[in-house]
Symmetry: C2
Subunit: 392 residues, 2 copies
Amino acid sequence: MAKATIEEVANLAGVSPSSVSRSLRDVGGVSAKTTERVRAAAEQLGYSASPAASRLATGRTGTLAIVMPNLTRWFFAELLGGVEQVVREAGLDLLVHNLGDTETRQGYFSSGLLRKRVDGVLLVTLALTEPEIDALMALDVPVCMVGTDVESFSSIRIDDVQSASTAVRHLVNLGHRRIGLISGAPDEPMHYTVPVHRRLGYRAALEAAGIPADRDLEVHGDFTIRGGDEATTQLLGQGELPTAIFAESDEMAFGALRALRRVGLQVPADISVIGFDDHPMAEYFDLTTISQDVREQGRQVAQQLVAAVSRPDGAPVRRLHAPTRLVVRGTTAVLGAEPRRAPSLAGNRTVPGQGAQHQSPDKGRRGSGPPALARQSATDQKERRGQRPLAT
Amino acid sequence: MAKATIEEVANLAGVSPSSVSRSLRDVGGVSAKTTERVRAAAEQLGYSASPAASRLATGRTGTLAIVMPNLTRWFFAELLGGVEQVVREAGLDLLVHNLGDTETRQGYFSSGLLRKRVDGVLLVTLALTEPEIDALMALDVPVCMVGTDVESFSSIRIDDVQSASTAVRHLVNLGHRRIGLISGAPDEPMHYTVPVHRRLGYRAALEAAGIPADRDLEVHGDFTIRGGDEATTQLLGQGELPTAIFAESDEMAFGALRALRRVGLQVPADISVIGFDDHPMAEYFDLTTISQDVREQGRQVAQQLVAAVSRPDGAPVRRLHAPTRLVVRGTTAVLGAEPRRAPSLAGNRTVPGQGAQHQSPDKGRRGSGPPALARQSATDQKERRGQRPLAT
DNA sequence: CTGAAAGCGCTTACAG
DNA sequence: CTGAAAGCGCTTACAG
C-alpha cells in the first residue's frame, strides 16, 4: 500500500499518469473534476511520488546539505536547530555532514560526496581553501556560509572583530588597563577564523585606548572549559596580574572562573571576566558576555539558501551581518570598586554590541526571566557612551 | 564535468554502460583490463553515478533518517554525533528530522515524509503510539530506537529504573533518609518515558531501604536549569528540609545547586545532590552523578541499523542495554559529616552503575584528566558494598 | 567476460 | 484539459 505507483493511481482514477502527476503537484492545467478524482485515488492508495523517480526526471533533488566541523558543541547544535526548522518547513530534506577531523575533510569537497546529490550546500565556520572553493563551484548549486565568507558565496556572520572590541572596550571603560586575552587555538587544522578575528578586535580596542600591547597577556584556551582554566592559570603565573580577562568564548570563561576561584581570587572584586557567545550557562554564572543569536543565524541562512535554490537564475551573492550585543552581568566591575555585591540572578542589562543590520525577533529565553533591575550608575553611563563603534 | 553520465564514461573507455556500472561497483564479472580502462575514464571525467538513477534502478536509497524530538540539548546533539559518524563511515546519507513540537509530530509518521525515501529509520526517545508503530511498520524498512523500545523494533537504552535506584541507593548508603526528587515533566506531549522510569527507580530504592514514601518530596523540574532551581526552591519551602536531592538530570541538578547556594545552604555539608547523565559541566560542578556514554549509544544503534539495512532478510529484533555507572564526586557526603572539604577538580571515583552488558571502548574525555586521587574512606567502602543491584 | 535491452517511476514537451 | 511517448541515468537479468 505504501508502495503504490503513479500508474496504479491513474488506473484507479481512470486517468493517465500525466494527469495524476499534474494534479498532485498543483501545476494547473487540470480540470477540477480530474484533480478531485486523482486526489481521492491517491489518498485511498496512500500514494506519494517516489523521490528517486522525481529527482531523476526533474534533475532537482529536493535536498540540502549542511556541512559542519562539529555537531555537538553548543554553537553548532544550536545552528543546526535553526537550519533544520526552516528546511523542513520548506519541504526539503536536510543531509548532515560532519567534517570533524582533518582526514574527513581531506578531499571531502572534491570527493563527489555532494555531487548530483543536493540542490544547495550550507557551510558552517569553514575557512575554505582555493581548491575547496573550486570544487564547490563545480557543484553548480547555490552555496551559503555561516561564520566565514568568500567572494563567490552568500553568507551570514557576526562581526567578530567589532564584537571583540566591544567586549574589551567594556573593560576599558570600567577602568581596566591590564587585560588578559584567552583565545581559541590559532593554528589548528580547520583554520577557524574566529580566534584570529576576536584577537584582532582585542588588540584594536587596546590600541584605541592607548594601552600598549603585551603579548604575555595573550594565552590560548582551545575553546574548552579546561583550556580556559589552564590558560588562566598560565596568566596568573607570570608577573603582574591582569585586572580583567576577555575570553573568546563563554566556555573558556567558565574555565577562567574556576581557575580564579581555586586560587581565591574574587570575581569581579579582584578581577573582571567577560566571555563571548551567551552560552545557556552564561546566565547561570552571571557572566558578562557578548551575545549572539545563533539559532536565528541558522534560520536566516537557511532561508537564504532555500530561496536561492528555487531560483533558476543564480541568486545574487548577499553578505548578511548578524547583530551581537553586550550583556552586562555580574562578572565585570569597575576597577578597584568596593567588594563584591550579592550575586544577582536576574537583572541583565543589554546594550547593542555593534551596528545591528537586523533585529532578531526571537528573544525567547531571555524574555522569560524576571524584569531587569534598574542598576543605573556612573559606570553604566560610561559604558553606554563607549558603545560607539571603533574605527577599525 | 561533474555532470558526466555513465554513457560518456562508456564511450571514452570503449565499453558498454553495463561494464562501466559493474566495474565501478566492484561486483565482479569484469576483466581486470576493462576495469582499469573504466576507472581511468571515470577519473578523467570526474564521474560518479547519479544517486537518483541508482536509487530508482535498485530500489535502495542509501539513506537513513534519524528522527529526534530535539536537536540542541546535550543528549541529542551527542547522540547525533555518534550516529552521524557511523552512518558516514558506512557510506550512507543521513537525513535529520526534528519533531520538536507536537504539531510537527502530529501525523508525521503517517505523512509519507519517510516513504520511499530511506532504507532505515532511527527513533530517539520517542514513545510511540500504536498508530505510529503501524505507520512505521508499513514503511517496510528496519527501524531502531534509542531510549525507548517496543515489541517490533530493535533498540538500545540504559536501564533508567535501575540507574535511578543506584543514585538513590548511593544517598541512602550515606545515611540519608529524607531524599527529595526533582523529576522531569511527567505529562508533556512527547510522552517521554525517562521521567516515569527514573521516578520508579527512586521510589523502589526508598522502599527497599524501608523509607516511607513522601510525595511532598517529589517535585518537577522540566529538565532545565531554571526548572531545577524552581523545583528546589519549592522543596525548601515546605516543612522539614530534605538532607539530599536526586535530580533526574544534571541540568536540573545545576539549577538545584544554584538555588541552594542562594539560600546559603552548603553542598554537601548541609545537603547532598546527585544528578543523572554526566553532562560535560558535571565535572565542573564536581557533581556526583550517574554517567552514561551517549555518543557510544549513538554509535551502537547506528551500527545495528546499518547492519539491518544491508540484510535482505529482515534482521532479528535485538534489545541492547547500555551501561551506566555511578560517578562519585564532591556534591554528596555522609549525612551529618564534618563541614565541607576544599573542592577537588580531579579525583572522580567511578563505580559500575548496573550490570554492564558491554563496555564502552571510549573513555576519551574522562581519561584525559589527571590521575584519580585515592580518597579511601569508610564511606567509600560502604558505597561499594551498596552497588549490588536491587531486585526491582 | 561483455553488451543489448528492459525496466525502475516519475515529469514534461508535444500533439490533439 | 488530456494522454501517448520520450527521456531522466542508472542496474540487472538475459543471451552470447
